[in-house]
Symmetry: C2
Subunit: 332 residues, 2 copies
């Protein structure tokens, strides 16, 4: 029997279409899908020796006299940092200059690893760089939201092979972000505590959607997963912003992030994915009602007219089965 | 200079990234992208002679003793019509049986035309069937929203070649639909009239984004287009629901819909697309604040982590240039 499930925070619904449910292993990606990459490419702007192909580093981590991670301004940024934030009317329409800050985190000097396969130290460097830049960007005064994300593979919208993440800081909190914040605030006004903390308590009690648990984090396939193998990583201690993680928590996040990506990599044979870190707006970095998390969306299905029209995603897998599958993947 | 633009109703923002703007003709699809289809396939469930491969017709249009259009229940429906609409708690989570009605409109007995290339009479039959079924479904009492949509091509999420549309009726109005309704209601409470009527007045004054205008409809590329060549068709007379169109208006809608799809088909060489008819919830079919419209989204780009995370779409084309390009396409 198919089933509607509601996202507790956004109040959006999904349809878990069990009648045409696919078993998790039916999403296994084809071996021939991805070609092996070299560890270096002469024409790659992110490979060592080609530093002049990018703007100068904003931040870097060195090892044995060479860089092992660099953060650089995005040369092809959709937003620019020298503009105003003023809203302007054009007749009845509202617009603003495209002020914003866009950066790229080059995660490794090597061209061919991925977060799932690189050394844990490089993943730690990556999340450390996220926090460093988040901290700097959120203090500029004109930035309301810092979004950290990673597009992996062509189906996830990237054409650059070299391992990298992106950070985009905007002077706008859009409704897509604000509406769930309003809902979690309302829940907090009603029940007196964080709706995410309550959800995690429930998930730890039910256990059926939990993928992994570490000292500081819980990885799970959400009750109202929009697509197969959607996985979220929540800090177990209440934190509204990614910027507030301690060093120990950050190191643990690197471990659980890599292990979760490795489960997907091994279990589904290297699928494309997007992940996003959903942190509070910069001025709400210490609030009771928001709880930051990372969401990983493997690109295994195509949203179509019904999803675009209603926001109701049809998911042909049971989140409980996906979680069970991921728990069972041997990641060595 | 890049620019933020706001959708007047949903209040969501887009970034028009003019620095890396592409010219409209750079979205021309490759000729070899689509293979020519036969007009009949023995194994196609929608081709004549194979009627037993689908459930019996709910509605059909005959011509010369054979069917020229059929509406049938969706055999692989994500929702089922014999279930309850009761909401149930599972711990803190909320769910409901997957009650709903899913139908398929088989638009032609031929396997290989598309809405852009078929006879106008078939397009008229199609939109007439939409209205017929919309009317029946909205009167069942348990249906709150009727969504009519069409997925064309693999990138738009369909695998069936035979020309068809879909209708899904749900017992739920999701936030994705409700939030913009609430915004347009608020605008109506504030200014006393329909925000869409005002927007159209502005578009007709500015003219730069208008693609086509007929007796009853205006086709345009929206000010805050989320992706290249997004095109919307609005009735010029205020109507909150698609069900309220007169026969004359419906015939005119068939013409403007086909002409718009033909502009995309000829101008961009047959791109994949989704379209959706956004009509009011069934209980709001005669309200001042909502104005139904059709939105056509050609699948030319891939939303990535930033779009998933923020709902802010980065569009590398100017809607004004897309409109100018589409206006200039010769459609015979």
């Amino acid at each position: 029997m198919p089933e509607f499930r509601q996202n507790m925070v956004s109040k959006e619904w999904v349809i878990i279409a069990t009648e045409r449910a696919k078993r998790p292993d039916q999403f296994l990606q084809k071996k021939e899908g991805k070609k092996a990459l070299p560890h270096y490419r002469k024409d790659c702007p992110f490979c060592p020796g080609n530093e002049s192909m990018t703007p100068p580093s904003l931040f870097s981590i060195e090892k044995n006299g060479a860089w092992s991670l660099r953060v650089v301004p995005n040369k092809f940024a959709a937003l620019q940092n020298h503009l105003t934030t003023e809203r302007k009317h054009e007749g009845r329409f509202l617009k603003a200059d495209g002020f914003g800050i866009a950066e790229v985190v080059i995660e490794s000097p090597l061209h061919n690893p991925t977060l799932a396969t690189m050394d844990l130290e490089e993943v730690r460097n990556t999340v450390f760089a996220y926090q460093e830049r988040y901290s700097v960007l959120s203090k500029t005064g004109r930035i309301d939201l810092v979004t950290i994300f990673r597009n992996y593979g062509e189906r996830a919208g990237t054409s650059l092979e070299h391992p990298h993440s992106q950070i985009i800081a905007t002077p706008i909190v859009p409704p897509h972000v604000r509406n769930p914040l309003y809902q979690s605030q309302l829940a907090c006004d009603t029940f007196g505590d964080c709706i995410y903390c309550g959800m995690m308590e429930e998930e730890r009690r039910q256990q059926v959607r939990v993928v992994d648990e570490t000292d500081y984090f819980l990885a799970l396939c959400p009750f109202a997963s929009r697509s197969p193998f959607e996985t979220r990583i929540y800090p177990k201690t209440h934190r509204s912003s990614f910027v507030n993680l301690s060093g120990e928590e950050l190191a643990d996040f690197a471990t659980v992030l890599q292990n979760t990506l490795r489960r997907l990599h091994v279990g589904l044979n290297d699928p494309d994915y997007n992940y996003i870190i959903r942190s509070a707006p910069t001025e709400d970095s210490n609030v009771k009602y928001h709880h930051w998390y990372a969401v990983i969306v493997p690109k295994l299905t195509t949203p179509a007219g019904f999803e675009i029209g209603t926001g109701i995603y049809i998911n042909t897998t049971l989140p409980e089965q996906c979680a069970e599958f991921l728990r069972g993947v041997k990641i060595g």
